[in-house]
Amino acid sequence: MKYVLSGRFGHPAPVLLLLLLILVTGLTESAWAGPGINIVVKTVLASQDSAYADPRLSELIRELQSVFKYSSYRLLSQNRMKLGMKETGTASLPKNRVLKITPIRIKGERAELRLEIFKKKRQIFQTVIQLLNRGTITVGGPRHKGGYLLFNISNSF
């Protein structure tokens, strides 16, 4: 064993140390990613004025087409944030709208999030959801440029 593992290093210890480092690094990145929640907000304009499918939205479009009849889906903006518990992140939306996201807690495979949409300083709505890890929710409805705005929110923790 010593003959094999030693190789160029001359001693098995460096090789074993390297393997251990790889193992620990892998574990750190995947299992112990820390107490933050990664959130991505995609602002999408859905309309029927043309036929267009943004390639960056291919998965989302496939889902939306099963319930909506829009022919065009355009990605207007994308916001990424990493939030701790009770920490509020903000994503600017068209027409002076703001989306505020606050993680409340993690319960099993779901994160409890508070979503608020403001128009200027006036709150339009507030909802508390339990979102699956690596799951998405789409909030839509505001009219914009002949179509409708959709806010696709995904999280991972």
Partner: protein, 162 residues
């Protein structure tokens, strides 16, 4: 003769028989042989034994069919197909590969046993706990394929105007 008999040297006699002696030694041993019956006898025995071996060797060689032996060897080589187990074994024979490969497999097993793979959870992507707002209507939809939750709301006239 008696005088020379004391000088009998079997090793020297063997070298004499094998013609390995120099001229002086050869002459001396020849002279000794003329007077020494025991060395003469020993030399005769050597000669007869040598002649016997040479004769048998000649007979054996002359009776051997080398072409037949060659044919047999080639035939055996053709027939001796290497079994697939041996081929497989020879493929993995370098032991310097086996242990690192084993170590890697062990690490992968350890890694995947420690890291929990995401457990598939049934149900919609999002569960709505509460919803309040200054809106005229709201619809909660679930896509049929992957059960993604969609909240669709209609703003009030005030909000639309703003």
């Amino acid at each position: 003769m008696k005088k020379n008999h004391d000088k009998c040297n079997p090793l020297l006699l063997n070298r004499f028989f094998d013609q390995e002696l120099g001229p002086d030694e050869h002459a001396r041993v020849s002279k000794h042989l003329r007077d020494c019956p025991s060395c003469q006898k020993a030399l005769r025995e050597n000669q007869s034994l040598s002649a016997l071996v040479a004769d048998n060797f000649e007979k054996t060689v002359s009776g051997t069919r080398f072409d037949h032996i060659e044919d047999n060897v080639l035939e055996r080589i053709r027939n001796d197909r290497i079994p697939w187990q041996i081929k497989l074994k020879s493929l993995f024979a370098p032991k310097r590969l086996l242990i690192p490969a084993g170590a890697l497999v062990a690490i992968f097993i350890l890694f995947f046993s420690l890291v929990k793979s995401p457990v598939p959870v049934s149900g919609p992507s999002a569960i709505i706990n509460s919803f309040t707002g200054d809106i005229s209507s709201v619809i909660i939809i679930e896509t049929p394929e992957s059960r993604q939750t969609i909240i669709w709301f209609n703003e009030t006239a005030d909000n639309k105007a703003g």
